[in-house]
Symmetry: D3
């Protein structure tokens, strides 16, 4: 069993708020992250898969296929977008890094399995000082 990690990046706007709360309540809980006119981040996404090494190629999974899968299923939907407004799999959900990491896991898992590997974890960096990691359970 060996673990392979691929990093991809996306630049997106987001905002933390609940539509069922007042502006004041949102600001009390989410502070400047609830700014009504949005703010944004250069997100860094680390996707880790695991599996056995194929003795013929020395690969667990072709890295080009892994990269294209991440771009097609995740990055193309998030990059230069608004996480709250533009992303189908985030509709109606809190745009926190925690929830975003969990939803990215769900997006990628079936596509990794199709290539005979397992999705091990999603690590998502919001800034150089904060990141979250989700292992699927």
């Amino acid at each position: 069993m060996i673990y392979i990690t691929r990093r991809e990046r996306f630049n997106a706007a987001h905002r933390l708020y609940r539509t069922d709360w007042s502006l004041e309540e949102n600001e009390r809980v989410f502070g400047k992250c609830s700014n009504p006119n949005w703010h944004g981040h250069n997100y860094e996404l680390y996707v880790t898969i695991k599996g056995e090494v194929n003795p013929e190629t020395g690969f667990v999974m072709d890295l080009k296929v892994l990269k294209d899968t991440i771009l097609h299923e995740v990055i193309d939907k998030l990059d230069h977008r608004n996480v709250n407004m533009d992303v189908d799999f985030m509709k109606g959900k809190m745009a926190s890094t925690e929830v975003l990491a969990m939803e990215i896991f769900k997006q990628l898992q079936p596509h990794i399995q199709r290539h005979h590997a397992q999705l091990h974890s999603i690590r998502l960096h919001e800034t150089e000082n904060n990141y979250v990691e989700y292992l699927g359970e």
Copy 2:
């Protein structure tokens, strides 16, 4: 003469577009950077000042004063904000990294001079792959 550089960071949303152009024209020129629902970045700002070393303190300028000046004049106005909508000194201007760097230079210059140092340059990183530098002329 010695050069001192201080790095600060801010996370902001922005969009490249002209109100006097159609959506199509904006997209043709600015591509995904003109997404109507905004995107965002973790901007890194490097402020370089220059001056003579004060023989009494070994300083060109007290770094704490430099930091507080950058926070008060620039970061507090940009962090967790929308560059196009929320920032007084960017009103009516293109929110490109080039223009933002030039305007930050104008914001800081008088405050640095007040402390007997000179503002040498503003370097502004939009992503790990792109940055601009402005020397004031």
Copy 3:
């Protein structure tokens, strides 16, 4: 279950030595790390907590609370200090990165639990080439 990591930094002096050993013995075992006039580091501290995501906020724990806890319980006591001489929770202990990481874990654990999350690990970087990680057992 999701993992959240917060990075904080502190700049401190330290020295590796035993008072019950001679200078020669200290130098034989600890080499230049036992220099009697101290040396120092820019330490990077990564605090990882884990817990369930609160469905109301999308958070495991408010990051601002996590940050303030780390600053109050750890950084304020270590930053711009001497690890051997100035830090209450390191008195009488070896100032190695290993021991420092374990003691920081003990400092933080009760404060994280108070906020309904668990402290998962402390990772402490002494240089860009060396770090230790402690998971509490």
Copy 4:
């Protein structure tokens, strides 16, 4: 139990190909990584060991000994070399990052055990976007 990680680097040439495949077949599977005239990388190697802290020294293992072991057993054999042609422990094996990480693990394990610590993992970065991790089983 505490984990200590040491980073070392090596610059090497390599190529992904099978001698029992045609040039076309190699290029179809390995793409530009099979270029017959080689390409190369600045590899970053993270070696993580684990063990109990020695109460006398505050160490799991003397970091200088760990560093010298990695240099002698791994870096001296790989740095400024051709992974496919010059490295005894890679002869006849695929020069993929996966296989290289596994073979480095095998090289180091007996030498770490001799110092009363355990080799926990080998993490090997090929580029800033790709790395593999191997835990020995």
Copy 5:
């Protein structure tokens, strides 16, 4: 006048040697960099252009055009290649970082001028500890 910098990367093999010198003479002057079976690097290339900001777009030069120019004229020729053997503009030249930076400057200069900007400098990083910069004269 404002300066824009774009980073691109390429992974290549190379070797320092002179065909008119013996193996011993090459090794005496170039050390391990002359290993006959090659070694390699993850090169980082920083291309800095300068010019006036176009008031209509806020740009000196469209960054997408700059990126495509660097990819087409430089990266496609160097990435996953052997600098000594595979690169037309390096034929018969020493594959040192110095010479490579100067030749990349010559490759890019006419293409930047065509877009009404000036090539200011080429900075080329061979490792995290070594880089060269060339300003064209």
Copy 6:
């Protein structure tokens, strides 16, 4: 003319204070940087030299010679030391990053000239957020 930069690192303790000032006056001007029991940093030193490329070797100056010069003249005197107490060329001087950079320049300049190159600048990073640069005049 081409510029070559070499990075080296050193870990040192220091303190900002004047012996002719009271403890209170030192603390008022230098804040926590004047802590009597010292603090410390992982300093990063960038040495930039310039010169013509030697057509025989493709080098301005042999990087191994540059590295050894920096280690012998600067790093060996500063690494794992106390800047105020242990370093001959800093005796009686303020241990600020500004003064340290200027003194390192003076240490290195004659040794670079001996190798037919010129010392262009010293850049010294105290933390990831602060650095100074000195060009010798």
